[in-house]
């Protein structure tokens, strides 16, 4: 019931975005119905549509979770992009360096490299904030550039195969490959890169949920995010939480490397990320920083991404940039949620104002916020 209420506003935002998107398509001079049929039809077709949609959703689940965890802890991690690059390169490095190890050892080792690399790169801005109070937004953005340049340099000068025209490393050992889901699901061809990392993403989502709401660690992360002064009063070390939260966030972003390196290209391919780290911010926003919401939001963005190709190919005028427009509209409408929300609460105010009065707060125009001596809603 509560979950349904939480879903209401993101759903309205998505519907509004599609409505405005239809208007744009009509203005260009194509049929909105046909465009959306192509978009959604291709994304949900079997096996290619669904296979690719889930494959595209995988990195977005990881980065969406990364941003959501950080936000729950009161931190804005804009550095998922850099974290996933460093982690992916680390994964490939382990896969190349220890190529001769058997799969049972090499796969876990590579996964650890992905998680550890992301955690490390995420922890750096955390440590900088905890030690020196420098803001994580600035530092994560800066570290994105550092990360891209660093792994680019390593690829170009140290791990590229001689004569290879593409900016990519040599392949990882065969023992580092993780199976594609086509191997288990009849009808799903092996050429579709959807792999075990997708299941890992779903598992991570559940683990993040348990971590945040069912463990004392999650309690401390959320308490720090909600009110650091009160968390400190409750015996939580704020500095420790900042570093820990950023490390967990980075680790989640880093798991993109498992999908990319172990399940898809089997090497590090420079510039592979289609802004996964930044789209993760939108995914977390749309998913209301809840792990289950993140999965739904990641699927939506994946549908748009997958559906863009046939729209481009089969319509007269509309290009696949309509996907970008839809994404942007979704983000805009989610950001404007405060607007829907205040309209909604005005309606509700007529019905349930009794609640706030019953608990003894002075009646206020605003939300029944903090009663007592320092009510912020008081005029």
């Amino acid at each position: 019931m509560k979950a349904l209420g939480e879903l209401r506003f993101p759903l309205i935002a998505v519907l509004c975005a599609f409505a405005v998107g239809a208007l744009v398509v009509a203005l260009i001079g194509d049929s909105p119905v046909e465009t959306y049929r192509l978009l959604l039809g291709s994304a949900f077709s079997w096996p290619d549509g669904i296979g690719y949609t889930l494959f595209f959703a995988t990195p977005l689940i990881f980065t969406g979770l990364a941003v959501a965890v950080a936000l729950r802890g009161g931190l804005l991690n804009i550095g998922a992009e850099g974290q996933l690059y460093v982690a992916s390169f680390a994964t490939a490095w382990v896969g190349i360096t220890f190529a001769n190890l058997p799969a049972v050892v090499l796969v876990p080792l590579c996964c650890l490299a992905a998680i550890g690399g992301g955690a490390l790169w995420g922890a750096i801005p955390g440590i900088l904030k905890a030690r020196f109070g420098s803001h994580e937004v600035i530092n994560t953005i800066m570290l994105n550039f550092v990360a891209v340049a660093l792994v680019g340099y390593l690829t170009q000068y140290h791990y590229r195969m001689p004569g290879d025209p593409i900016m990519e490393t040599s392949p990882v050992g065969a023992g580092a490959h993780i199976p594609r889901l086509g191997a288990f699901i009849p009808g799903l061809p092996a050429r579709i890169p959807l792999n075990v990392a997708f299941l890992l993403a779903l598992l991570s989502c559940w683990l993040v949920y348990v971590l945040l709401w069912k463990t004392k660690w999650g309690y401390e992360i959320r308490a720090t995010g909600q009110n650091p002064a009160a968390a400190e009063y409750g015996g939580v070390s704020i500095r420790r939480e900042i570093v820990l939260t950023m490390a967990i966030s980075g680790a989640l972003a880093g798991m993109v490397g498992i999908n990319e390196v172990l399940g898809y290209r089997y090497r590090y391919y420079d510039g592979f990320s289609d802004n996964y780290g930044f789209t993760g911010i939108a995914v977390a926003l749309l998913g209301r920083n809840h792990p289950f919401g993140v999965v739904v939001a990641a699927l939506l963005f994946a549908v748009l991404q997958r559906g863009g190709v046939p729209v481009d190919a089969f319509t007269q005028l509309v290009s696949k940039d309509i996907v970008l427009i839809l994404q942007a509209l979704v983000i805009l409408f989610v950001a404007a949620e405060a607007m829907f929300r205040s309209a909604g609460s005005r309606q509700r105010a007529a019905g349930s104002k009794g609640k706030s009065a019953a608990v003894g707060a002075d009646l206020q125009v605003g939300p029944p916020a903090g009663a007592g001596q320092s009510a912020p809603g008081k005029i």
Binding site: K216, E220, V236, S352, G360, D362
Partner: protein
């Protein structure tokens, strides 16, 4: 100016905030409106000021029915309002603030000189001692409030509505403030003061209107009433204003503080300039024994906050020097978590900043500080929270401390101040503590809840707990404490027996021992 509310009714959804209010405020009087939180007093005054429009009823100004639909209408009629939270632009001068919205001169040339002159004249007329050229953020809270008064007077207000004006003032500032109100009354102004402090009502007002549940339950002359009668009208039952407590039977010293000094935090250049490098607490020594309440009185900002935070382990080690021993053991090296484990409970002065996670449920708030150990988790070192045990604990706190509404899944934000405070107190009392640090236990709390909280503190003392009580309410500390320390300027200005001392004597100590008239509050 005479103001009359006649049959004013205002409904918010299902709630009747004001139910046929009849209030008459005669010209040139000071009129107090009292009532518990949610009684509807602020709503009534906001209707008079045009923030809200009444559903029915009339507002009469000087016996004429007036249509007040917006604050601008009220201002045009000569009604001014000073809000509890000041509406001042802090980096601007007093004059700039006062003329804001009514700037003199033409659109391109602001003429502040004339305005400054008339503000100076007003300030002198009412002896407000406000410099029109001062920057607002350099002023003390009391001075800022007088700027708000000037703002209303500059707009030629004849009737002033003051919403909880003394909540932010020190006792000395309250006295000065009341003197100003009396001068204003002498000049023929009418003053309405919304408050829930009975002592102030008796000190300043001519007439009192008591509200409860949206209705007027009493209109009395101040000199014909008593605090007990007012309290009974407000709450609807007899309220024990004095705390009923047996004499203390103190045991061994639980907390011993020796030469505790606290340095000012390394803050911004601006605040350093104001406060120099002064010590917040300067070589303070005292002890608290089991089974006694040691009160700490003092004007706020004289080191009480820092004292409590240092004892609770919330100040950086680098700021603190001296010895703190608890149960014979040095606790300086322990952090807040270890100190709570040792048996030190802490009810912080600011419950929204420190004491609560407002977005968290009552259940989650009920385990703050003990969330990592049984019963919140199954065994020491366990990671998973035990939801049933947490809910049981929350329900226990809710039941024993009468938290309303009794629903552990509500966010703490949904509760009134008094119930939030009861939740915190229940949580901390349930540790159970050997030492309780409790600051401003009843700030912003209804009279009924105050009585309840006082009884619980005394009960905890009688169970053998050592209590350090800090309060800005002299009534409260003298009623509860068995011994009373008075802090001034970071030092203990004196220790007194609260049963025998007069408020005048405490006031003298609080202000540094000067005669009241010449006391200087340095900050």
């Amino acid at each position: 100016m005479k103001l009359e509310l006649r049959g004013i009714t205002k409904r918010f959804g299902a709630v009747l905030a004001n139910d046929h209010l009849d209030i008459t405020i005669p010209s040139a009087t000071i009129h107090a409106i009292v009532g518990e939180n949610g009684a509807g007093k602020s709503t009534a005054m906001r209707i008079a000021y045009g923030f809200y429009t009444a559903d029915s009823g009339d507002i009469l100004v000087d016996d004429q029915v007036r249509d007040i639909r917006a604050p601008l209408d009220a201002i045009a009629l000569g009604i001014g309002m000073v809000h509890q939270h000041f509406m001042l632009v802090r980096p601007m001068t007093v004059t700039e603030n006062i003329v804001l919205g009514a700037e003199p001169g033409s659109a391109i040339a602001l003429d502040l000189r004339k305005a400054a002159a008339s503000i100076r004249a007003l300030s002198e007329e009412f002896r407000l001692a406000v410099d029109p050229d001062a920057i607002v953020e350099d002023l003390s809270v009391g001075q800022q409030q007088r700027v708000e008064l000037l703002k209303a007077l500059y707009r030629r207000a004849e009737l002033l509505i003051l919403d909880e004006p003394t909540a932010v003032l020190t006792p000395r500032e309250v006295e000065e403030f009341f003197a100003i109100l009396r001068r204003m009354r002498g000049q023929g102004k009418t003053v309405i003061i919304i408050t829930h402090k009975l002592s102030e009502v008796l000190a300043i007002s001519d007439n009192v209107t008591v509200m409860r549940d949206g209705r007027v339950v009493g209109n009395v002359r101040t000199r014909e009433t008593t605090p007990a009668e007012l309290a009974r009208l407000m709450v609807g039952r007899d309220v024990l204003l004095r705390v009923d407590k047996p004499p203390a039977t103190p045991g061994a010293a639980v907390l011993t503080v020796r030469d505790l000094s606290i340095a000012a935090p390394p803050a911004s250049a601006a605040s350093r300039q104001l406060r120099r490098d002064r010590l917040r607490l300067d070589k303070v020594s005292f002890e608290v024994r089991a089974g006694e309440i040691v009160g700490v009185a003092g004007v706020e900002g004289n080191g009480q906050t820092e004292l409590v935070e240092a004892l609770a382990g919330l100040l950086p080690e680098s700021q603190v020097s001296g010895a703190i021993s608890f149960g014979g053991r040095d606790i300086r090296p322990l952090d807040a978590r270890r100190r709570r484990e040792a048996g030190i409970a802490h009810v912080p002065e600011d419950r929204h900043r420190r004491g609560l996670l407002l977005e968290f449920s009552l259940a989650e708030n009920a385990i703050l500080g003990v969330h990592y150990r049984p019963p919140a988790v199954n065994h020491v070192g366990a990671v998973l929270l035990n939801q049933q045990a947490i809910e049981r604990r929350a329900e226990l706190v809710i039941r024993e401390f009468d938290v309303r509404p009794p629903n552990a899944s509500l966010p703490a934000r949904a509760l009134s101040g008094g119930n939030q405070q009861k939740l915190i107190i229940g949580r901390e009392f349930g540790l159970p503590p050997l030492l309780l640090l409790i600051s401003q236990p009843t700030r912003g709390v209804d009279i009924g809840a105050i009585e309840f909280i006082h009884r619980k503190i005394v009960a905890l003392r009688d169970a053998g707990c050592a209590v350090l009580l800090v309060s800005a309410e002299l009534e409260e500390v003298t009623a509860l404490a068995d011994r009373l320390l008075v802090l001034h300027n970071g030092r203990i200005a004196g220790e007194v027996d609260p049963a025998r001392v007069t408020h005048e004597h405490i006031g003298l100590l609080m202000t540094g021992g000067h005669a009241p008239g010449e006391a200087e509050r340095d900050s």
